[in-house]
Amino acid sequence: MATTFLLNGQSTTLDVDPNMPLLWAIREVARLHGTKFGCGMAMCGACTVHVDGQAVRSCVLSLSAVSNKQVTTIEGLKSKQAKAVQAAWIELQVPQCGYCQSGQIMSATALLEKNGAPTDAEIDGAMSGNICRCATYPRIRAAIHAAAGAAKAYGS
């Protein structure tokens, strides 16, 4: 059975098992590899994507659940907040091994798209589902604050 949805703004039909987790449909069928597999049970956040603007864990969401919805992956980030987040990540040299960073950036972007000036507690709330074994957390926090300032400067 085929599932049709908007993937990074493009209408996409994937004719595979609708019970396949969205993560594997994105990686192995749509062949977008920026979204990563880390735990398979929504414990680490490496697979975070946006579904209708919400940060979700694609490893536990079936493909059928996104039928007719908008799915954004790291490859499709376009918003001003997203660009500010990526720029801040580079400016503050956040990544180490880098494997979790797509998920971190997706969670941080979803946060800033809803909350232009998050507090430390709000950052904890939005980001504690994303594990980084390199423990880049202090820089992630600083980069989110920096991106919030930059996105504000853009007037968004």
């Binding site: 990540w89 990544p95 091994c97 074994r133």
Partner: protein
Amino acid sequence: MSTADFSSSRPTRRKFLKGAGAAVTALTIGFEWPARPALALAGPTGATGAANMAAAFAPNAFVRIGADNSITIISKHIEMGQGAYTGLATVLAEELDADWAQVRVESAPADATRYANLAFGKIQGTGGSSAIANSWPQLRDAGAKARAMLLSAASGEWHVPAAELTVEKSVIYHAPSKRQASFGSLVRRAAALPVPDTVQLKDPKDFKLIGRRPARVDVAAKCDGSALFTIDVELPGMLVALLKRPPLFGGVVKSFDATAAAKVPGVMKVLQVPRGVAVIAKSFWAAKLGRDALTVEWDDSKAEKRSSTDMMEEYRRLAEQPALPARKQGDAKKALGEAARKISASFEFPYLAHAPMEPLDAVVKLDAKSCEIWAGDQFQTVDQMNAAQTAGLTPAQVSIHTLYAGGSFGRRANTVSDYIVEAVSIAKAYGADGTPIKLQWTREDDIRGGLYRPMYFHKLEAGLNAQNELTGWHHVIVGQSIMAGTIFAAGMKDGIDATSVEGAANIAYAIPNIAVDLSTAKAGVPVLWWRVVGSSHTTFAVETFIDEVAHAAGADPFTFRRKLLEHEPRMKGVLELAADKAGWNSGPMPKGKGRGIAVCEAFKSFVAQVAEVSVDDAGRIKVERVVCAVDCGTAVNPDIIKAQMEGGIGFGLGAALYGAITMKDGRIEQGNFNDYRVLRMNEAPPVEVYIVPSAEKPTGVGEPGVAPIGPAVANAVFAATGRRVHAFPFSKSDVRT
């Protein structure tokens, strides 16, 4: 039995591994290590080299300059987050006077003749925080010689003395005639020149990149999802395999029923291999469903069936029995017998998994004559040997594309090459027909997959004389050996595995009588080095216990340590810097809060940390601030050093607070991040890092930052609550106020 006396020269892991490396070299005599061209998939910028190869200047194995001005620096070390690509490129680019914007890094092929880790002997591999330290003279020389040849080329072209030329950002200038030429324009001429035998290296005062903060070469690709990890490798016709492994270590397949698994759409084959039963499918998801449907009956007759609590019980008993001396200085027994006061404590450390974010994976393309491997490969020479043996080929027939690793923390550098060998064995069972097969581990495979940091029991006794001076120290360590039974076993001296006692046998404190003993336990659980190796437990025991001794002596823990480090200027230096920046003497902290300090030497770097914690009525520990001082010699890239300290602190803190792998009747009780907890954002403290200015040779920073955080926090918890933490993880200890 002879004793190892470390009193005159404290042993280091580097020295030790050098010996171990020599042993492995001896094993591999007769193998030919081939020179292979750089492989296109490797490196952050993909296939950069091939197009430039024709018109490139490649004076040595580490740099290639293209006619298009591209500068490709070849890294013999894996980039697994520690910043090696950037640090190594910085060293070479500095001597070359390269424009950092033109620098790219490519991964070296597996070739120990050119790319051996000089700290390991003749083995290519990354570990022991040695990448920068072993490459420092090698890459400075490589960059300086390339620069000298480019200068010669310009000198010849312009018919001017080389001494009149200057170089800045990949451009050569001749001021008197106002001429200039880019490196790229000189590559043909330079390539025809002989490589000079010797060359003058820069005076450190002229460094333009070293000590500055050139941007990491891998960061941009890691912010847009384009960085290539093993999990992202796709090859034409590639299949994906998952392996069902025995639930108990040492178990083997008795029989299996593949009927249901074979019916899963996409499953191609179900095959028995030495480590279990492999399900090979067209996609990960099909392989996963296939493995879920697979029924395997295991033969557990030779498996490890004990529980970790029983094993710790045995370790406690072993601690009371005679052990092998790892250090003997003076007469500790006598000193303790004559002491005015004795202090004693014991410490328990669990098994720990590395749990890198990228679950282990490898792609193998095997046919009758060659084995091509794509992996976040950390131990190329060892992996070549093990893959060759599994495939029935020679190491020369095994090529490795080293890709970015999504973390490792030691896990990918193992002497049995477990994940590589599994992948090769699956490709072989599949028919060795050239079909690329990706073996993918799941998180559960990783957490239950063994090769853990060993479990340890430590027992310590200290004696104070009537003047409250520390006169005797006896430290007994019980645990499995990482080296015994491996290809590195020849590196063990007098039965002592240096990785079991480093950080304890080479204790830096001036104590007149010291005995450190090791009792090596046997267990059927595979073990391995875990970030900062021995110091992951020894530093905790030493630094928590010295704190207890200081309190018993009525001394301030910082002052007490400093006095015993009078003759250890670098240890003392970081201790003082951390204490100063943390405001150690700024007065007592409010109720429920405390400050703790710890210091260590690991891999020839020195790190001290001060932690500030609060403990609530329920005994919940919150680390509110960490101040870290590090002395790693010349600071090649201060921002990466800072990042490694931040990361090491987070890694060590997660383990200290929550980390434990436990077994019940041989079965691992954890499986994923829900029950093997690691540090998360809401628990990550702010970290301040201060680097001691130094002109010494650079030493490693990937691991040392991990060691002091556990004891610094434990000592801070004591300051806040009056309760000592004697067992890892802290969540096991009752520290309610």
